[in-house]
């Protein structure tokens, strides 16, 4: 659980581990029924509707562009026209 939570960047409390643990185990038992289903030679479906790769010209579409200001309007923290985040790299020792 803690490994998967780490992969998902989700801090879990001990209480959550106690609750989710059995629930997720129960769900995994439930989905394990798929083992009964023969899928040898069956292709995997990612998209059900017939589709092909869509290309478009790489040009600006001003009608759907956000202004700099609008793009930052929802930022939890912004400074000098950028998103501000906590330290990413450790200080050199």
């Amino acid at each position: 659980m803690r490994h998967v939570a780490r992969l998902a960047r989700l801090a879990l409390s001990d209480a959550e581990i106690d609750t989710f643990g059995p629930q997720l185990a129960n769900l995994l038992t439930f989905v394990d029924q798929l083992r009964e289903l023969d899928t040898d030679g069956v292709p995997a479906t990612a998209q059900v509707v017939p589709s092909r790769n869509v290309e478009r010209r790489d040009v600006l579409r001003p009608g759907t562009m956000l202004s700099h200001e609008a793009a930052l309007a929802n930022a939890p923290q912004a400074e000098h026209g950028y998103f501000r985040v906590p330290r990413i790299l450790a200080e050199e020792s």
Binding site: Q23, L28, Q33, L34, A44, V48, V49, L66, A75, F83
Partner: protein, 492 residues
């Protein structure tokens, strides 16, 4: 014309003929909705200023000689769709203060067609749930029994239309999130073929399944809304580039020559005597309209839930990775960026969203990817093939829309018990088919004291929306089930 009760078709006709102004409609609807919503809590946010501004704009366009298909029609928007300048939360604390910087294509098309936005409706957080109870903000109540859930995830959109607090609303359906709440709230809920309606501006849950569709109190109104919102959008590469046949015109009155598939594996007897009788009567009514019943088999459908609860969480875990406290939404500070991510997500997401992120992350993780995710994708192929084979023998498949009528609050504490509500809708979603729920009667639930609405699910082959809506219209006009129930007195 009564803008609080009448159909979208009647409202638009009156406004186009200038018998009533859109502004007069907005002024009548706003206080009515406020009164109803004090009981139902369908809305997270009302937008009366926007509604009046839009009404004046519609009146100006009508005065200039335009005719608009939804002129003056009051609409509600599920709060996982962006509407410029309004708070758009997806029912989650993590987006509690997010203000949409643009408008979703489906919403824009409604506005361009003359609709008036009443507000944004409540939903299960990120559209994950079947009762509305997973909203981080409030519990929407069923207008037909305030002690019961409205269904989910499009809880508020279904309850608003069912409670006469909107004429039409938009919902989104990933595994049943339009059809199940429609069944619970005595309304028509229509999920078009995957790709028919642009997802641009819809907050993503499971991108290979998500589809926007309308709620309405009649099939004709749902068709009217569909005709407005459907069609290719250059801003959504998965929207399908195919002509959209108008569906709201020349709807048929009977089902002569139509072969209705009844799924052998969907034994309604298991749902209890009253529910079984309700569906048997519905199938008989189809026959009375000239249809022939055909037994069809969907042998893989019983694996639909297991397939869905791998694919949808996998896609959700990937889509919801964007909520990291950097560009928008909640941020909870930490010593470094990693701690900030983990704390933000721990604090911003509710339990059901966390469960699905964990399951999805696990199913996609190294060593389990083939056994879970790829296996589910193969099962999805087999489910879609089952439907294709069934449609060689029938034109439309009829089944329950949900496993029971609306249940009480806190009645389903086990997640898997909740998932079983969508037993009939999920296989259809995995196959991408157009599908709807139409009212088909009422059943007194176990422990209940008043009859609650039931929904008949109809599903047809890919891209056959016109045929599907036609069958539903013929059934609806002959049976008129929705008319036989009224919301509770406090809501009227």
């Amino acid at each position: 014309m009564d803008p609080l009760r009448d159909s979208a078709a009647a409202i638009a006709a009156a406004v186009n003929r200038r018998e009533m102004s859109a502004r007069a409609i907005a002024d009548a609807v706003i206080p009515h909705v406020e009164r109803v919503d004090a009981q139902v809590d369908a809305y997270l946010q009302l937008t009366p200023e926007l509604m009046r501004v839009q009404a004046d704009r519609v009146d100006a366009r009508i005065a200039a000689g335009e005719r608009l298909p939804l002129a003056g029609v009051p609409v509600a928007i599920k709060d996982n769709m962006c509407l410029l300048g309004t708070r758009t939360t997806a029912g989650s604390k993590i987006l509690g203060n997010f203000v949409a910087p643009y408008t979703a294509t489906a919403v824009q098309r409604l506005l361009d067609a003359g609709a008036l936005p009443i507000g944004k409706t409540n939903l299960d957080e990120f559209a994950m749930g079947s009762s509305g109870e997973n909203s981080a903000f409030k519990m929407t109540r069923n207008p037909y029994d305030l002690g019961r859930v409205p269904g989910g995830s499009s809880a508020g959109s279904a309850a608003a239309v069912g409670g006469f607090a909107a004429t039409i609303s938009l919902g989104s359906d990933t595994g049943g999130s339009i059809r199940e709440p429609a069944a619970f709230c005595n309304v028509v809920g229509f999920k078009p073929t995957y790709g028919r309606v642009s997802r641009y501006g819809l907050i993503a849950f499971a991108s290979s399944l998500d589809q926007i569709g309308p709620f309405a109190r009649s099939v004709e109104d749902a068709a009217l809304a569909y005709d407005v919102i459907a069609g290719k959008d250059p801003l959504d590469a998965t929207s399908v580039d195919r002509p959209v046949e108008p569906t709201a015109t020349d709807l048929p009155r009977d089902l002569r020559g139509v072969r209705v598939g009844i799924v052998k594996e969907f034994d309604t007897g298991e749902l209890g005597g009253a529910i079984d009788a309700c569906y048997r009567r519905a199938y008989d009514d189809l026959v009375a309209l000239g249809a022939t019943l055909v037994d069809v088999s969907l042998p893989t459908a019983k694996h639909g839930l297991a397939t869905y609860y791998l694919i949808a969480p996998a896609e959700c875990s990937s889509n919801l990775a964007r909520f990291d406290g950097v560009r928008y939404g909640l941020r909870v500070d930490g010593a470094d960026v990693g701690e900030m991510y983990e704390r933000t997500r721990a604090s911003g997401f509710g339990p059901e969203v966390k469960r699905r992120i964990l399951i999805g992350t696990y199913a996609l993780s190294s060593g389990y990817y083939d056994a879970y995710y790829v296996k589910a994708q193969k099962a999805r192929t087999r489910i879609a093939e089952d439907f294709a084979r069934a449609f060689e023998r029938c034109d439309v498949i009829a089944s329950p829309a949900a496993s029971s009528p609306a249940f009480g609050f806190n009645a389903k504490s086990d997640p898997v018990a909740m998932y079983l509500m969508d037993y009939y809708t999920i296989p259809v979603s995995l196959a991408g088919l157009p599908s709807l729920s139409v009212p088909c009667g009422a059943v007194v639930p176990e422990g209940g004291d008043r009859p609650m609405p039931m929904g008949l699910q109809l599903a047809t082959p890919l891209f056959t929306e016109r045929a599907l809506l036609g069958y539903a219209h013929a059934y609806e006009q002959a049976t008129q089930h929705a008319e036989k129930l009224a919301p509770v007195e406090a809501v009227r």
